[in-house]
Structure formats: structure tokens, C-alpha cells
Symmetry: C2
Subunit: 461 residues, 2 copies
Amino acid sequence: MLRSLKKLTLAGLLCLPLAASAQNQDSLHIRKIYDLALTQGQSYEQLRYLTSRIGARLSGSPQAAAAVEWARQEMDKMGLDRVYLQEVMVPHWVRGDKEYAAIVNSKITPTREVNVLALGGSVATPANGLTAEVVEVQSIDELKKLGKKKVQGKIVFFNRPFDQTHIITGHAYRGAVDQRSSGPSEAGKLGAVAVVVRSMASNTDDFPHTGGLRYADGAPRIPAVAISTKGADVLSKLLKEDDKLQFHLRMNPQWLPDVLSYNVIGEIKGSEKPDEIIVVGGHLDSWDIGEGAHDDGTGCVQSMEVLRLMRSMGYKPKRTIRAVMFMNEENGLRGGTKYAEVAKKQGEKHIAAIESDAGGFTPRGFGIATTTEATFQKALSWKDLLAPYGLHDIDRNGGGADIGPLKDDRVALIGFRPDSQRYFDIHHTANDTFDKVNRRELELGGASMAALVYLIDKYGL
Amino acid sequence: MLRSLKKLTLAGLLCLPLAASAQNQDSLHIRKIYDLALTQGQSYEQLRYLTSRIGARLSGSPQAAAAVEWARQEMDKMGLDRVYLQEVMVPHWVRGDKEYAAIVNSKITPTREVNVLALGGSVATPANGLTAEVVEVQSIDELKKLGKKKVQGKIVFFNRPFDQTHIITGHAYRGAVDQRSSGPSEAGKLGAVAVVVRSMASNTDDFPHTGGLRYADGAPRIPAVAISTKGADVLSKLLKEDDKLQFHLRMNPQWLPDVLSYNVIGEIKGSEKPDEIIVVGGHLDSWDIGEGAHDDGTGCVQSMEVLRLMRSMGYKPKRTIRAVMFMNEENGLRGGTKYAEVAKKQGEKHIAAIESDAGGFTPRGFGIATTTEATFQKALSWKDLLAPYGLHDIDRNGGGADIGPLKDDRVALIGFRPDSQRYFDIHHTANDTFDKVNRRELELGGASMAALVYLIDKYGL
Ligand SMILES: [Zn+2]
Ligand SMILES: [Zn+2]
């Protein structure tokens, strides 16, 4: 006691602000979070199970149910104050077993199979498939300029590549993804019979990247597939030499009735302000190929790790901390929507929600979306505490799909920002598997989220 | 002319410092460097050739000779002012064909093979191998405390793991590597018959990591191998249950006569200050396993890319820019030593040397070693120009093995600093292969070096 008083007085004499000793305490606490995560972190082994033993887990699938039960059991082991399932009805789309595509009837090449994946939500082709000429466009604008005459009866091939000059690959993704989400309906409106979309990918390989499409109300629903980047390059090249070649597409995906599923929630109750809630989350569902490792198994295990680290440090948060594993981010966002709905109905006060859904790569920072400048400035004031861990990118481009529906004036929506260079090589592909995840990168991510949660819990936001 | 005068006056009226427009010009120039590297970069395809077609290339090997010829031809294509080979005699150590190790004569397990790799430079075992009890230590200090009595006739097993709490894995490497470099001689002095070293690795797997050892003058030279981290864990566990178990080791590496080899140098002559030289470099040799992809194929292709980008932008540097592919970093440093020797003899004035030898991962910054504070401050003043590319870590921990011998008061020795999380999973293993390299990460690294070279060339350092 005497000693700390002395310290305080000395600090006063030296004109050091009181904040300095708090900062030092914070710095030590954060250091301990990282030490624990790097030496005793559990995320990597948890992720191994989720990806290798359960695997791909599209909403409505048996594997999604297994993932729910797994997440519940994992959090049950952690001695939290509360672990519960939140009911949510989810869409149930299945790929079918007949996905096949080929370049046919070309003067310059024999029938040539190409790798495609139905876009999530796509309708089927006729049972024997469909065959049509192909019209290649770089954009929806270009498509509209072609008009009905040139599109009617054809397969529209959207082939605008990633803009590689973006340093953050997510920006390139956003610049290309309208082809996949809106392309099918825009083509349908002009009488096209199907859509082939160049994969939203940062690399060139044989893996097609699936992802959701959005059929517009009233527009004809036509089948749509993603083609691998290599396949797209081949098709484009052949079209230049022979614009009468045809494309054959056969697939039988279908929509089944909605299925009861769950968000999985674990909670440590706040000791001083239990009514103020801080959420960390990722989504538990994935596409139906690969293992949903970086998208978004990593976000789930990192979110659980935040609670586990608190527990193993014996830290009692002032506010209530929740890890939420959202269901159905990929093709419906029903989990995120339901979570926000319930929160609103119960009058819950969320002060911050952090989502990890950009891969389990080396942490680079956080995007913080808030309507309150003071909130952003408070987060910025923690820069020196986060910089030693490589968390330099603190900016306003925050948010996340699942936490989006929580948006109101009181909550900061925060996106965990890992290094982006590798994500869109494997995003939504059969290649998004456990072996692409590095243990240290993954654990550093969980620790980074835990550090931010610690600061928000201690100082508010 | 009128227009630019007008602009200048306006700037003057608005009290903008003249520097602002230079900064803007720099920012545009750097942006263009990245655009070019990301869209038309050649490093990745060059690296594919070097790693997949030439492969591992230990000094003195035929593959090292192939790498020299390849690098010369690649730079010849670029239309540089000068491409030349600098002669250097290099050591020639070969691994032999009989590497074998097993845990034997244990009461609790049948003979159990383990994965080992001779340390570079190790002497051979007797032709039939050697078999001895094992004494496990965590450090050279602990070994010395055991003393001759407990070490004599035994195999010393250095098993201190990486300290995972370091955020930069290179720090953990430095904290463990004395076991490999000095361990064999220290054990030899106490009468040990061989040394087994836990791999200097950030992960746990079956790949042993080789690397150089340094036999001390006058100390007995005993055979030494690296054991994989999994193997080390097994051995340590078994020793706890049965400290009389024995280890069998058989290998026949040997030293052959020195071989004539070369540093490969490409140069663009400076237009204003041709006598001031800026070096970018990596090392062309690798260990004799894997493909030497991240160590250090990436550094070589990135260095060439710096010159190529200048050429393709039509940029004429004021100072002379040299890309140097150093020979024999791994087991002798003869190339780096020779380069500095010749530079000194010819009275060359190097103002900066940048080495990329920490993997082709996402760029994080530069370490800048200089004896002149003003030099460091000048580099720091470029922070805002580099930050948009994720280059936040500008500190004083600079340098690199090959450029080290250039050290004097006039030259800044700069280490390119990529993200470190994955490097020591694969460093010096059979797993350091092309498929571990991501195209965008690699090209971003070359662009980052090119951006720094541009600034140093323009403003001096
Ligand atoms: Zn996702
Ligand atoms: Zn190296």
C-alpha cells in the first residue's frame, strides 16, 4: 500500500498523468493474454475437430447440426455462466449430385470439361442439362447495353476479374461480387438461359468459388454457376476464336423446406454492468465444399477463445461478454437477424460487437463502425497498447455481416482485420481446409480480439 | 508551364510547404510501383522456375551452378546496364546417402526410427553408425553444469523449444539457435559422441530443420543432427520413462574441396551520382533439401524485381542500383564477404543495402541499422508514404547476413521485414517449397523494396 502510494506521489511530482500507470497495467494484462494464447491456446485443436471431423456445414445440413452440438459442448466445458442455443429457422438448399459443365460444339476444340460449382441458391437446369451459345461480358452495365436481342437464349458469362491493384483483397472482392449476386437476375431479365460467373478469386487455379446469388423479385430464375479462374481464361480465349461455341450445363440443386437450427451462445456475466453486452462472434455455417476452415471456422474458435482466455486468467469482466456462433451467414443471414431481433425485443444494450469473418490470418487491426466520433477516438487511444502485436490498422471500415443487424446508435460494430492476401485464394472453395490455417496466426487473432474486448470492458466504448 | 507556375503560386498562397507536392509525386510513383508489381510482376513465375526446375542448391552443388546461370540469364533479359558474375570460392559439403536414426535398446519401445537431418557441416559417424545413451539438456549452461562425468560417451540431446510468446518468430529463433550452432562443440568438449538438436521450429511436425553448425577451433568434431519437433517430443517422453534407452545414428556427410562459384550482380547505372550505390539482395544458395523457396528464392526474385520495375517504369535512378544474388549465405557467407571485400578494394561508396532473407510473406516494414541518427529519422519521415501498403514497422533492428560485411559508418544496412508467423514452420526443411509462397505476398514484397529504393535514390539516406 505504502509502496503504491509512494509511486503515485512520485508520478504526480514528475507530472506523469495518472493514466500512465493504468496504461502500464493494461499493457501487462494484454501481454499475458498473448502469452496464454500462444502457449496454451485451444483454438487450433478445436478448429482441427470442426474442420476435419465435422467438415463442410451448410445451413440445414446434418453437419450444421453437428457443429451446433459441438460448439455447445465446447463452451459447456469452459465453465461459463451460461451456454444456450437460440432457435432460428434456416433455409435448406442442397447442391445435388449432377454438377457438370463442358465447352461443346466448338470448331476448334473437342468437348472440354470445365470445373464449375453451382452458386448457392441456384435453381436446377432441366434434367438433361441445357446447351447454348455464350455471350461474355465484363459487367452488368455491358450486359444491359447488349440488350435482349443479343442475350436472349444465351448463357451469359460474367468475366470481370479481381482488380489486383487493391492492397486489401476484400476491396477487390467487393468490386467483383455484383456479377455473382445480381448477375443471374439481370441476365434472366434479358432472356438468358443460364449464367457462368468467373470465380471471385485473387489467384489463378482450377478451384471454382461458390457463393450466394440473389434472385430479384419478379425476375426469371435461371441456373448460375461459378467457373474456376483457369476455366474462365480458357473459355474466354476459345470464345475469341470461335464465338459460336456452346456451353453445356447440367445440375440439380434444390430448395428443401426450412430447418430448425440455432445460434450457439456462451456468456460470462458482467460483475458491475451486467446489462451492457459485448459480443464476439463468427459464423458456424459454411458452404458445402471444403471444410469451412478460414470461412469461418477460425472466427468461431477465436470467439470461444476470448471467453476461455478470460476464464483461465481468472478475469471477471465488468460487462457481460458473449461469444456468439451465428448460423446461416452464407445463404440467408437468418442467425444474425434473429440475434438482433431477440436482443431488441428483450431490450438488451449492446455496446460493441466484434466479428471475425475474414480468415484466421495474422492480425493487422480492427475496423470500427460507429456513429459516435468519441467512440472511435476512444478506440484510437488504445493504439499504443495494440501496436506491439502488429495491430496498426485501426480505421472506420468496421462491421460484419452477422453483427450488421444489431446496428443502432449505441453499438460499435467492429470487424477484426487479419492480413487479407491469402483469403480469396481459397474463399468458398474446396480448398478452404484446415491445413491452410497456421496455428500462430490463428491464436494471435483470438488474442487480439481478447485484448480489444478487455479494453472495451474496462473503459466502455 | 504557365499552369504549373500558377499551381506553385497558389500553393505558396495557401502556405503549403513545397514538400507537399513532392510527397504527392512520391505517393503516385509508389502507387504505380505496386500497381505494376501486382498486375505484371514476374517474381512468382521466376520463383517457380528456380524452385521447381532447379530446386535445392547448396553451395558447391550442380544446382547452385544452375542457379547462377539462371540468375545471370534472367537479368540479361532485363536490359540492365551491366550484369556480371563475381568469383568466390565456396565450401562444398555434401549430406551423403546414409542418414538414419532410431531409438534403440529401450525397455519400453521396440526400435523406433526418427526423422533427422545432419546439420550442415557435420562430420560423419563411423560407417556402421554409433549407438549411445542420451542425456537431455535445455541449454548449453545446463550441459556445462552436468560436466564431463555425465556427458562422456553419451549423445547430448538439446531440447529447448522455441519460446512461442515472441510475436516476431525471428526472436524465438535467435533464442534457440545457439543449441544448433555452438551445441555440438560444447558437447564435444565434454566428451559427448554426438549431438541431437530439437529443430528450431515454430510448429510441431515431422520435418527436421537443418542449419549450420560452427565447430570451435580445437574442440573435438562430433556428428550432429536436427530431430523433428515431434521426434524430439517422443524422445524426451521416452527418456523420462527409460533413461537408459539408446540412440543410434548413422550418416556419411563429407567435406569436399572448395568450388568456384559466383555472386550474380545486375546494375542500373546512376544518372547523377553513379558512384553512390544502393544494393538490394537475397541469397541464391539454399540448403540441400526442399526447394529453397522462402529461404531465399523469394529474396532473389524480389531483388531482381526491383530493377525490373524501374526498367518497365522507365525510371532513371540518380544513383547506381544493384541487385546482388549472394552465394553461400547458408554455410559460409563467402559471397557476402567477397562482395564487401571487392567493394572496399575498389573504393565503392555504398549508401544503403537492403536484404530480403526472411521469407516472401506479406510486408510489414523495414529494420534500418545505421550509426547516424539523421539517417534513421530520414527513413522514418517516409512512414506516411509506406503505411498505405502495410509497412508500419520501421525500426532500428536492421541488417542481414549477406550485407553485414558491408558495415561501416556510411552505409545503412536494411532488413526487409515480412510477416514472420509462418517462416519457421518450414525454414531449412524439405517443406520449404514453391507451393508455400503466395503470389500477392511475394509481389508486394518486391514492390515494397522497390518503393524504399526509390525514396533512397531520390533523397539519399
Ligand atoms: Zn464468412
Ligand atoms: Zn536465408
